[in-house]
């Protein structure tokens, strides 16, 4: 190869490699810096919950509570369930495990929680509704998931939940499960956890 040709080939190679390298750096940046906030944004827009703003899905005001008309012809079974994330040393269970109600009927139940550890723990509950088609029809005026819950060592409390399922709920839905995941909000404690989170089903 003549030296001229070689020279221009090397120049061309440098250019191509530079472009490809920029692509690599760009894609790493996309994965590392852009994807996490972008993903959070998409979740916010589509209404997925985020622990930092609390589990506010389906929150309505007292005034709206009785707006839905009661449909006496239908009976819906609601099941209550919970999961404890990463060894939260609390004893928690729904005081009613399953109930039957009409769409539009306002109901109130409570979850019982007791801190079994010797430390004060602040926890946050994140709700989830199954099947997901029912999520937008499951409305709450009062829920322990709206705020962080603090329990001193040995302290216990009943945490109320007041809800209504509006009458627009699709006809084919007969059973709805409301499930909460309780999480310790102290990050450092979580890091030390070596055990796999266990599923505590209350059903």
């Amino acid at each position: 190869m003549s030296s001229d040709l070689k020279e221009s080939a090397t120049q061309q190679n440098k250019k191509t490699v530079g472009r490809l390298f920029l692509l690599v750096v760009g894609m790493f940046g996309f994965g590392f810096f852009i994807m996490p906030p972008l993903y959070g944004l998409i979740c916010d827009i589509t209404g997925s919950t985020n622990i930092l703003n609390g589990g506010t899905t389906g929150r309505i005001t007292e005034a709206d509570l009785f707006k839905s008309k009661v449909d006496k012809n239908r009976v819906i079974t609601v099941q209550f369930d919970l999961t404890k994330n990463a060894d939260l040393p609390w004893e928690i269970y729904p005081m009613v495990k399953t109930m039957e109600l009409h769409p539009g009927e306002v109901k109130e139940i409570a979850y019982f929680a007791k801190n079994n550890s010797d430390k004060t723990i602040v926890a946050q509950a994140i709700p989830g509704v199954t099947p997901w088609q029912a999520t937008e029809h499951f409305n709450k005026t009062e829920c322990f998931c709206f705020q962080k819950q603090e329990l001193k060592p040995g302290e216990s409390k009943k945490m109320p939940l007041r809800f209504v399922i509006d009458h627009k709920l699709p006809n084919e839905l007969k059973t709805i499960t409301l499930s909460y995941t309780f999480m310790d909000t102290d990050r450092n404690k979580l890091k030390k956890t070596k055990n796999i989170p266990q599923l505590h089903s209350s059903l």
Partner: protein, 533 residues
């Protein structure tokens, strides 16, 4: 197309001793090292598969502890993907692409050396991530599966950190190799060779290289976040700290789905040479095949979430990913038709590479059919994480990727070594390995549809028969590779001398320049650019 070559004869002798390999900047030597590395890793990953199948011969726990079993499942996948298929394909690219396009060497020979030598280091790290669990106090083994999903991967022991660094090294290695190959293809072609004159294998690697450059950094970013979550108190993937474990799944599969095409495309490239060669007919629809690869490249990048139908995506997103995934069967189906039309009315002979090529067309199409089943959301919700998925992706990857590489090995062994391989042994190897492969993975469709979950050491006794057939098939499949090794060693040591053009239809099969060189080619080839006629 033919070329006039003027070989320069000064310093044509390779350096002696270990320096030849350690300091090598020669594309043929580096190609050989890649191929040998892949072969060694094939036996390591294969041995893990044998252990897994031995454990699954009977329900209950026999020889493996559940965590160790899951660690072996994880490492089997990582070794086969990153240690076998990708290095073997890169080895073939190193050997063949400069010779096909008439380049003296790769564009960046020193980077080429480095991208290979990162691999053994990564292999050592990977093996130590498996062994470190035997030291007390290092925590749970990496029992996550190759997808490394958090929250489990945040909680397992030291092995995970070693594995994260392994993935970093492998990523850097394959990014450098890809940059090198793409640059070579773009800039180093012999004067007069246009992009549309290149053999299909070169085109396939062009798209593979671009894919790797795009997806590998995203995986590297994902596992780096995992490392931060484990040690630096961030919570990218921790719901209790405001993160979301599903984010990792998106990052992983943004890499993981195109990765399937990274494994597949080089083999499609080999098919595009082998089938015309032994049909003695030019490739049917060369240009459309290149376009189909381009379509595959684009579609492959935008359908990743079909691996995650069960995470609870919105209906719209699920529909989009389902339709996109089903659309992929169009370019792939058309490629298969192109290969069949190439064979149509050709004067076919059935040497070992051709046998593998035909087997790929049959079995890979079968994987395509189960793939469409899995793409359909309501069906996938049933099949998700069962052995049906295991059967599907082994049918896609063993014929689609591994058999394509075998076809390539047999097709080019005469060129690489200067000796013809033993055709009789080659055919025995083909029938043995193909039958054993089908015996291993075909029954897994049934056990999967009946509900046997994957990645679990134990199973219900109703699946005993299917699993025993599977295990016996797997042992036969594993053993057949000893014959493969024997054939390769025998060919390297000696055998009938191979001419420059060992196959009748070689020049019909590929428009490249590799057959203008003697077999084996000189240490330095095309130091003066060939003149195309």
């Amino acid at each position: 197309m033919s070329a006039v070559t003027h070989e320069e004869h000064h310093h044509d002798e390779p350096p002696k001793g270990f320096k030849r390999w350690l300091y090598s900047t020669n594309h043929k030597d580096i190609g050989t090292m890649y191929l040998v590395f892949a072969l060694v890793m094939l036996f390591l990953g294969g041995a893990m598969a044998m252990l897994i199948r031995a454990e699954l011969y009977m329900p209950g726990l026999q020889i493996l502890d559940p965590d160790l079993y899951n660690n072996l499942v994880t490492d089997h996948a990582l070794i086969m993907v990153f240690g076998v298929v990708m290095p073997a394909a890169a080895g073939m690219a190193n050997w063949m692409i400069p010779m096909m396009i008439g380049a003296p060497d790769m564009a960046l020979p020193r980077m080429n050396n480095m991208s290979f030598w990162l691999l053994p280091a990564a292999a050592v790290l990977l093996v130590s991530s498996l062994l470190v669990q035997f030291i007390p106090g290092t925590g749970t083994p990496v029992n996550t599966g190759w997808t490394l999903y958090p929250p489990l991967s945040v909680q397992v022991g030291l092995g995970m950190d070693l594995l994260i660094f392994t993935v970093h090294l492998l990523g850097i290695s394959s990014i450098m190799a890809s940059i090198n190959i793409v640059t070579t293809i773009l800039n180093m072609r012999a004067p007069g060779m246009k992009m549309m004159d290149m053999p299909l294998f070169v085109w396939a690697w062009f798209f593979t290289g671009l894919l790797l450059v795009i997806i590998m950094p995203v995986l590297a970013g994902g596992v780096t976040m995992l490392l931060f979550d484990r040690h630096f108190g961030t919570s990218f993937f921790d719901a209790a700290g405001g993160g979301d474990p599903v984010l990792f799944q998106h990052l992983f599969w943004f890499f993981g789905h195109p990765e399937v095409y990274v494994l597949l495309l080089p083999s499609i490239g080999v098919l595009g040479l082998v089938i015309p060669t032994f049909s003695r007919k030019p490739l049917f629809g060369y240009k459309p095949l290149v376009y189909f690869m381009g379509v595959l490249f684009v579609l492959g990048l935008i359908v990743w979430a079909h691996h995650q139908y069960t995470i609870g995506m919105s209906l719209g997103a699920t529909m989009y990913f389902m339709i996109g995934t089903i659309m992929i069967s169009i370019p792939i189906g058309l490629m298969i038709f192109n290969f069949i039309f190439t064979m149509w009315r050709g004067s076919m002979t059935f040497e070992t590479p051709m046998l593998f090529a035909i087997a790929i067309i049959l079995m890979f199409s079968f994987a395509g059919v189960t793939g469409v089943m899995l793409a359909v959301v309501p069906a996938d919700l049933q099949y998700h994480d069962t052995y049906f998925v295991v059967a599907h992706f082994h049918y896609a990857l063993i014929p689609g990727a591994v058999f394509g590489l075998y076809a390539g090995v047999f097709y080019w062994l005469p060129k690489w070594t200067g000796h013809m391989y033993d055709e009789k042994l080659g055919k025995i190897f083909f029938w043995w390995t193909t039958l054993a492969f089908n015996m291993t993975f075909f029954p897994q469709h049934f056990s999967g549809l009946a509900g046997m979950p994957r990645r679990i050491v134990d199973y219900n006794i109703q699946f005993i028969e299917f699993n025993q057939i599977s295990s016996i098939g797997a042992f036969a499949f594993g053993l057949s590779h000893l014959l493969f090794l024997y054939i390769i060693i025998k060919t390297v040591k000696g055998g009938e001398k191979a001419p420059a053009k060992p196959w009748d239809g070689a020049q019909i099969g590929t428009p490249g320049l590799e057959w203008t060189l003697p077999s084996p080619p000189p240490f330095h080839s095309f130091t003066t650019p060939p003149k195309l006629k």
